[in-house]
Amino acid sequence: MAKTGTFADSLFKGILTVFAGTIILVVIAMIVMMFWNSLPTIKEFGLGFLIGSDWQPASDVYGALPFIYGTIVSSVIALILAVPVSLGIAIFLVEQAPRSIASPIAFMVELLAAIPSVVYGLWGIFVLAPFIRNYLGPFLQDYLGWLPLFQGRLTGIGMLTGGVIMAIMVTPIITAVVRDVLEVVPTSQRDAALALGATKWETTLIVLENASSGIAGAVVLGLGRALGETMAVTMVIGNAPQISASLFEPAYTIASVLAANFAEATDRLYLSALIEMGLVLFLVTFVVNAAAKVLVMGVAKGTNAARQA
């Protein structure tokens, strides 16, 4: 910092610090509020809340496991579908496509992220669910029907549909981050690989390898988004608090049980149970984001060092 430290300077810095501090305050206030409001269930059930599999508000029995299961499985489905596609798009945009077509394509992919969640939900009910019931579901059952994953009744509404909708929604996010990560891998690496006689595709593989922790970060970031996705998933996942091996069966996620029930819950313990699930989701997002950050930073640091060398 320059040593022209005047009163105006410290005032300026002070104001900015207050603004920055606001963010810390908001997050702390949120955690305190949620913790405070979930005290009744924390006291009543303790850790049993997280591993209980019965959810019966009518008899004040609250176990969050079906929701945690649904949240994780649907997010994993989303990632399994979205990661390869996102990687493909990012590689295409950074390594292969000429600039003139890469940037409009990149823009269109990002537009997918601009469509509101409630719109995805409506589209999911009217287009995606019938598609899965009539085409994708029977196809999977014909070829992979021996797996418990693909057995059971096909209604078009359920875990798989929720996962597919999420996949569409996180693809632009993962793509964008992977693209950023690939772009910071120095051109010199590519040139070196090509000079050593590697093919274009082998070069890409080397680039991917060097960017792998950053790509992992992108995936984890996508996971964070998928975990918290609310409106669209509520509309297509079926909202039944059960743990079923079949991906065609209805499931439930934490965010969707909040959306479906928070406004209606009058009972103190019920409200507390819902808010505790919100708290769990908050903390999970927290950890997932921290992981993503550490991973992405790994790549950025490495490349900076490489540049200076």
Binding site: L16, I24, M30, M108, V109, V118, L122, E229
Partner: protein
């Protein structure tokens, strides 16, 4: 292999086109001038989304008025002074806040504003949106300011300008278009939010200019129309969706042409 990666890109774009085409086909038939300026009416008597458009605009404006200064201020702090534990904490919490489901923000504001005020209000809605906006603006602002070449600051500092003048008069104008981009994108993001408004702003069937009253919004109105029993309501839901998506895409496209950057 290029074929395969290109296919991925084509696949994503196809889905975008399918969704947009579906919205357009379902929505276009119900759109007319009355629909755009009218308030909701009982079933079968027409009605429209005029007050919802106004409500969305007002809440977005207030959210921007609250969120933009705080977000930009925090972003400038992070870029100029943020290489310490405080800055790292703010940065980390911003990223976390960006990933927090917006429904949790809604519950938070419901608890700290709606219950004490004994009323759902446009203010509570706008505050939820502002909380969603702040971390996005802060992080994009930081990125943009960091892109300003070091030589520009050093030159000014060498001429004896105080730090705040350098930041305010040299660095920020240089980053202005980038900051504006971030702001526009965050506005696009909050104008598509439904979940945080359900408990906070509620909805209204009137044109309402006062933030202490429940306020209509496009997203909640879409949700209400889409969940009604009557086919005519569903048509209006798609029409309102078309308007909303059109607006959001419009913002995104304008930003792109203004900046010509990778956004």
């Amino acid at each position: 292999m290029t074929m395969l990666t290109a296919l991925c890109a084509i696949f994503a774009i196809t889905i975008l086109v399918i969704i947009l085409a579906y919205i357009a086909v379902r929505g276009v038939s119900a759109i007319n001038i009355e629909f755009l300026i009218d308030t909701p009416k009982p079933v079968g008597e027409g009605g429209g989304i005029g007050n919802a458009i106004l409500g969305s605009a007002l809440m977005t404006l207030l959210a921007t008025a609250i969120g933009l200064p705080i977000g930009i201020g925090a972003g400038v702090y992070l870029a100029e002074f943020g290489d310490n534990w405080f800055g790292n904490t703010v940065r980390f919490l911003s990223d976390t806040l960006i990933g927090v489901p917006s429904i949790i923000v809604g519950i938070f504001v419901y608890t700290i504003v709606v219950l004490p005020m004994s009323r759902q209000s446009g203010f509570a809605g706008a505050l939820s949106l502002a909380i969603i906006m702040i971390p996005i603006v802060a992080r994009t602002t930081e990125e943009m300011i960091r892109l300003v070449p070091k030589s520009m600051r050093e030159g000014a500092l060498a001429l004896g300008a105080p730090q705040w003048r350098v930041t305010w008069n040299i660095v920020m104008p240089a980053a202005a278009s980038g900051i504006a981009t971030g702001a526009m994108l965050s506005i696009a993001r909050i104008s598509g939010e439904t979940a945080p408004l359900l408990f906070t702003a509620l909805n209204s069937r009137f044109y309402n200019y006062f933030f202490d009253q429940p306020m209509a919004s496009l997203t909640v109105q879409i949700y209400n129309y889409a969940t009604g029993p009557f086919e005519i309501e569903h048509q209006m839901a798609w029409a309102a969706t078309l308007i909303l998506v059109g607006l959001i895409l419009f913002i995104n496209i304008v930003v792109r042409f203004l900046t010509k950057k990778k956004y």
